[in-house]
């Protein structure tokens, strides 16, 4: 897996899982690999994987069945959508607006 350079790896992995939930590749009640399995797959330290899973657990996007593993929560997609929309509006939109102003473009570009 290729990681970009500015975001902590554990967040990039959590984002990757959220993207797969949005695209439907991971559906609610799907089991995701154990920390160790996923770490081996990505070539990433189990500590880092644990931090990704902890973050998703805290946000209620995955849940843990003791002794069985991690599963996608029933309402994971709604939660991820809500959070990603909020982030898009708070971060991406202002950045796009600023860039458009810099380049002398207006909202008409979205019309086609």
């Amino acid at each position: 897996m290729d990681f970009n350079s500015d975001k902590p790896i554990y967040l990039q992995i959590a984002d990757g899982i959220c993207d797969r939930i949005l695209s439907g590749e991971l559906a609610s009640e799907d089991r995701i690999p154990s920390v160790r399995e996923y770490g081996a797959e990505l070539g990433v330290n189990p500590n880092t994987m644990m931090r990704s899973y902890d973050k998703l657990l805290n946000e209620g996007i995955v849940y843990n069945k003791r002794g069985i593993g991690y599963f996608i929560a029933p309402d994971a997609k709604e939660k991820v959508l809500e959070e990603q929309r909020r982030l898009f509006l708070e971060k991406d939109v202002p950045a796009i607006k600023a860039r458009m102003a810099l380049l002398g473009l207006d909202a008409k570009i979205f019309n086609d």
């Binding site: 500015d6 070539g43 189990p46 880092t48």
Partner: protein, 276 residues
């Protein structure tokens, strides 16, 4: 749990290590970093019992490695930087040596060596340096040891084998095993090693998890220089700069930049990551 207390070692009158204290927890993959000649290899050979401390102590779950008790030896594996090209096929070697590790699995050895694309029927003294290293790595992982001490394991590996190595050390080591990996090739192992130990000639400068490093330092790739930058490095796209984290930001640790920051500011290293 490995506890190193006030360890010292010297070659006759040359002091190599002094006052080293470290605690290594199970289930972790430690990256041992340090400049040439600071004693990384010496520390690994002390940990596995090849050398005896001049003073201070090492305890591996209550046992001193230099006592070389079979119960500890069968639970550990030391992989040196230069490995022996024996006059035997990989498979004969594994059969003969595997018996010293009670959990050694021939099946696992065959599986791992196949993943590294080395022919186990090839004679070790006819192999290339990289093939030989991969044979030893496969053997090491097949012993299912609890303590691994690896000196520059990615040296000599070709590009696909480095990725294979990263996967294999997570796939084939037990969850409660402890790995200590010395390396200069931090890019090879950047996402694998955590915590990070930085050794200096006479002391341990840092023993900290990636999470702790992230919480204390920012690694900034923007184009504006921060006045508090401890370290700045020019890159094709701008800078990498390292400065103290005010507690609000999260960035990806760049191990090369981290090492250089610590190397230039040993005082900062001590105040931020003071020895625990």
């Amino acid at each position: 749990m490995i506890e190193i207390n006030n360890l010292a070692f010297s070659f006759q009158k040359y002091d190599v290590l002094q006052g080293i204290s470290l605690r290594l927890e199970e289930g972790k993959i430690y990256g041992l970093l340090g400049e040439n000649g600071v004693g990384k290899t010496t520390l690994l050979t002390l940990l596995c019992g090849l050398k005896s401390p001049k003073s201070g102590s090492i305890s591996v779950d209550g046992r001193a490695p230099f006592d070389r008790q079979p119960s500890l030896l069968q639970d550990q594996f030391y992989l040196p930087d230069e490995v022996l090209p024996l006059r035997a096929t990989a498979i004969a070697f594994a059969k003969e040596r595997g018996i010293f590790w009670p959990r050694f699995s021939m099946e696992k050895f065959i599986k791992i060596i196949a993943e590294f694309e080395v022919d186990p029927n090839h004679r070790m003294d006819k192999m290339s340096a990289g093939q030989l290293k991969k044979t030893w790595i496969s053997f090491a992982l097949a012993t299912d040891a609890r303590y691994y001490y690896m000196d520059e394991p990615t040296n000599g590996l070709d590009i696909p084998s480095k990725a294979q190595f990263r996967k294999a050390i997570m796939q084939y080591t037990a969850e409660d095993s402890t790995l200590v990996i010395s390396t200069h090739q931090v890019r090879d192992l950047e996402n694998v090693i955590d915590p990070i130990i930085i050794l200096d000639s006479k002391e341990v400068l840092v023993n900290a998890s990636i999470e702790e490093i992230e919480s204390k330092l920012c690694f900034d790739y923007s184009k504006e220089l921060n006045p508090n930058a401890l370290y700045v490095e020019q890159t094709p796209a701008g800078f990498v700069q390292v400065y103290p984290n005010d507690g609000n930001s999260e960035s990806k640790v760049n191990l090369e930049a981290f090492f250089n920051t610590i190397h230039m500011h040993k005082d900062v290293a001590k105040s931020l990551f003071g020895n625990k």
